[in-house]
């Protein structure tokens, strides 16, 4: 029972980070219809940038902020250089461009920072765990979860209450109508990419704090795909629930199934789950069901 509770808590906390990254993914899809397969590399870039600032001696919060700024710039550049030219192209072409981007970014990250595992040194969060009754939680997890939740709230309220956020919502809802009331769709696309870069960067930084930072953090960024499929591709609450659910499921599988199927159950389980889930409920929990006509 204690094991169950502990894996559950860890799962929820890691899932919070996934939810943050998944939010960025859903945002791009909602606003511009781009199905982004480069999310893993976006997490990597943000994480490495903030790690570099941190090792230079910049305080953690400030380096996180700086990585947000750089993520913002990179997001806008990526959209303007690559994605902007693909508006109206077939879906497959756009997806494959994001795949190409993912290789491009990954190669550059490996060139600059090499493939060795790096850690935040000195550790950002204190190492001794916190006890809640029988449950023991590492402080890294707790703080990461809190940070992810705060940012989720910030992003969601950005959508609900600010002018830019409302413009983005309007474009996501009906692009033609949004254009007719003077919202610049190109601006919205660029903003969506910038926000996705920022969310992924924060997510990557937090993930890097947990296990150290190497290329496999990019793989964790890929885990947003099962999360968004579970929640439905264009649903923001779905992304949050999906992220947390995937985190929980991953940790439960790691704790309970590992003895039956030794090896990488923890890494594979989300993808296996996703393949089966798609067979039964392809539009996720809250996604829009598209009705097609000839």
């Amino acid at each position: 029972m204690e094991l169950f509770l502990m894996t559950l808590t860890t799962g929820v906390m890691v899932g919070g980070i996934y939810a943050l990254i998944a939010l960025g993914w859903v945002l791009i899809y909602k606003c511009s219809g781009v199905l982004n397969l480069a999310m893993g590399e976006l997490t990597l870039i943000g994480a490495y940038v903030s790690l570099s600032f941190y090792t230079m001696g910049v305080p953690f919060l400030l380096s996180l902020l700086l990585s947000l700024v750089i993520g913002f710039i990179l997001g806008i550049l990526t959209e303007r250089i690559f994605l902007d030219k693909l508006i109206g192209e077939p879906v497959l072409a756009v997806i494959m461009v994001t795949v190409g981007l993912s290789f491009f970014f990954k190669g550059i990250v490996e060139l600059i920072w090499s493939t060795d595992t790096r850690v935040f040194d000195p550790p950002v969060f204190p190492l001794e765990p916190i006890r809640f009754g029988p449950i023991v939680v590492g402080q890294v997890y707790l703080w990461s979860f809190i940070a992810a939740m705060v940012l989720l709230v910030v992003f969601v309220s950005f959508f609900k209450y600010t002018r830019w956020g409302l413009a983005m919502q309007a474009t996501a809802d009906d692009e033609m109508a949004a254009l007719s009331i003077g919202i610049s769709a190109r601006f919205v696309y660029a903003a969506a990419w910038a926000i996705a870069f920022m969310a992924a960067g924060v997510g990557g930084t937090l993930l890097g704090n947990i296990n150290g930072l190497n290329i496999s953090v990019g793989y964790m960024g890929l885990l947003v795909l099962p999360a968004v499929v579970l929640g439905g591709l264009n649903s923001i609450p779905g992304a949050i629930v999906g992220g947390i659910a995937i985190g929980v499921m991953q940790n439960l599988c790691g704790a309970y199934l590992d003895q039956y199927f030794p090896g990488g159950v923890k890494e594979i389980a989300p993808f296996a789950f996703m393949a089966i889930f798609l067979l039964f409920k392809p539009y996720g929990l809250w996604g829009w069901e598209r009705i097609e006509r000839v």
Binding site: F82, L92, M96, V97, G107, L111, G264, A272, A275, L278
Partner: protein, 366 residues
């Protein structure tokens, strides 16, 4: 009809003429020249290094042919084809190494060819298994399930379980002389080259023939609009699964053939990168054309080799470059896909068609 040139414009009188393979004497003689080029001139002029590159090109063509079939002709995007190559390679290796063959089969050198066939069938069935979701989902969702195929097959089943068979550890070594094809032992690049080139020709001819049959037309109809295809009475589930089977079959052949030029196989030979590489080859060559696959394979392999050649002289001054070449390659590959999709979405096959048209209509092309 056996004319020397086709007139400007289409003057076919029946479908047989329209679908004929080699419509003019000119094309026939081109094909004979190509045959001589492939079978005599290339082995004659190239040294071991270039032969190994030719083998790599052949392997890429075989692997990408299945992807081309799925993406270019049936519209089912796959991002996990390396998994099916891996299934083919592993089934064939395990059969050659572990299966208690009757001695006469081994003596006649039939063990390996039979294993190729079984590997191709197994890979086709495995591919159908992961193609099953295509009955219900399409587009992006199908991309995700094929991605899952890659992770489940290579990173989980093969790495964790298949590699344990026989207690050999992670890599299965193939001692020289294990792989025999009839009376020949496949132990040099030149023999691998002949085997691969024959298989490439057989597979390409097979696929092209399949594409001009009822099956191929059904696939193209599904690609263009699956709902109207269904309305027209095409059993789309059946034909989609058939496409997955054929693609997996060819992938299995590719994997099983490739083991003949390797000293050992391990899961690292079939990473996710390789799946995407195959898709990149198809897109750069031009989706929807079989010769585009070949152009794409040649282009990608040769460009990467040239890149390597460019890096080696620089290595004296920047030794780090040599270590980081893999990363440069990755970046260059990603950038190449992006640029091709943005500026040349129809791929190299379209340029080829343009050039051909220009000369066909010369001097009155406009």
């Amino acid at each position: 009809m056996s004319t020397t040139y086709l007139p400007c414009g289409v003057y076919h009188e029946n479908y047989q003429q329209d679908h004929a393979w080699w419509q003019t004497r000119f094309i026939k003689s081109k094909m004979v020249l190509l045959f001589f080029f492939l079978f005599f001139i290339i082995p004659w002029v190239s040294d071991a290094y270039w032969l190994s590159i030719c083998n790599l090109i052949g392997y890429t063509v075989l692997g990408a042919l299945g992807v081309q079939l799925l993406i270019g002709f049936c519209g089912q995007v796959t991002l996990g084809h390396a998994a099916f190559l891996a299934v083919g390679a592993y089934v064939s290796t395990l059969l050659v190494l572990e299966f208690p063959w009757p001695p006469f089969l081994v003596n006649w050198g039939l063990a390996y060819p039979i294993s190729i066939l079984i590997a191709a069938l197994a890979s086709g069935v495995w591919c159908v298994l992961f193609g099953l979701p295509s009955a219900r989902v399409k587009g992006f969702y199908l991309i995700l399930t094929t991605m899952a195929a890659q992770f489940i097959t290579v990173d989980f089943v093969i790495t964790q379980y298949v590699s344990q068979i026989g207690g050999r550890g992670q890599a299965f070594s193939l001692p020289p002389g294990t792989i025999k094809l009839g009376p020949w032992t496949i132990d040099s690049d030149i023999r691998v080259y002949y085997m691969i080139i024959i298989l490439v020709i057989v597979c390409v001819i097979g696929v092209v023939n399949l594409l001009r049959s009822r099956v191929g037309r059904a696939w193209v109809a599904i690609r263009d609009n699956d709902i109207s295809a269904e309305v027209m009475g095409i059993d789309i589930v059946k034909y989609k699964l058939l496409a997955f089977f054929v693609a997996g079959f060819i992938g299995g052949i590719a994997g099983a053939v490739w083991i003949s030029s390797l000293a050992a196989i391990s899961p690292e030979h079939f990473p996710w990168f390789w799946s995407l590489w195959l898709v990149g080859v198809v897109l750069i060559g031009g989706a929807g054309s079989v010769h585009g696959t070949i152009f794409g394979s040649i282009f990608m392999v040769v460009v990467m080799e040239l890149l390597q050649m460019a890096v080696i002289p620089l290595a004296d001054t920047y030794p780090k470059l040599l270590v980081d070449f893999l990363f440069i390659k990755e970046s260059a590959f990603g950038l190449a896909i992006c640029l091709f999709l943005i500026f040349e979405p129809n791929g190299l096959a379209y340029r080829w068609w343009q050039a051909k048209n220009y000369f066909n209509l010369w001097p009155f092309s406009y």
